[in-house]
Assembly symmetry: C2
Homo-oligomer: 110 residues x 2
């Protein structure tokens, strides 16, 4: 899948997944592939910087969990501001997708 198409949509994807429930980064990578039916993939080198951006914006909050066995995990949960941002980004995406679909469907029809 083209790298450029993903631009500006990863924050929307992350907020959607975190609105469902608390998750940690490594888990999100596989959740994106699963939720999208294998159509979308995001690498961890992409993911972590986006998580930091969302945290700086106050849209998500981290929480470390160190199990007795295993590598420590950093769980993120969405904030109220994050839910509002999610709504905003989802609406923006739908508006954009509708505009592009309108162009694709027209195909010289009028």
């Amino acid at each position: 899948m083209s790298r450029e198409l993903k631009r500006g949509t990863i924050e929307l994807v992350l907020l959607t997944l975190l609105a469902d429930r608390e998750r940690y980064g490594y888990e999100i990578v596989s959740a994106i592939a699963e939720w999208s039916g294998g159509r979308l993939e995001v690498r961890d080198g992409t993911l972590y910087p986006v998580l930091y951006r969302l945290e700086e914006g106050g849209f998500i909050e981290p929480r470390w969990e160190t199990p007795e066995r295993g590598v420590p995990r950093k769980y993120y949960r969405i904030t109220e501001a994050g839910k509002a941002e999610l709504d905003r980004l989802a609406a923006e995406w739908r508006e954009f997708a509708a505009g592009l679909e309108a162009i694709l469907d027209r195909k010289g029809g009028a």
Copy 2:
């Protein structure tokens, strides 16, 4: 509309418009707004570099027309390779949009 969302879609938009009929750059700016129902806008500073990219790729071909009155216009028409590229980009977009919609629609449903 977010700048980042447009990334990687402008070539698709241009090829779609040029598959309809021959057009010149300045005309395309308003055609995009019209075809998208006012949802999408592309500036001329964006447009021309994309046209050059498509020309270099052999997807469109230019033709100058100098009317007796008025500023010369550079018309572009799509090539056979351009039509194939259009099909490819449209399919890629639909796959991507379907993946994202699947995520948005799931919303923790399963």
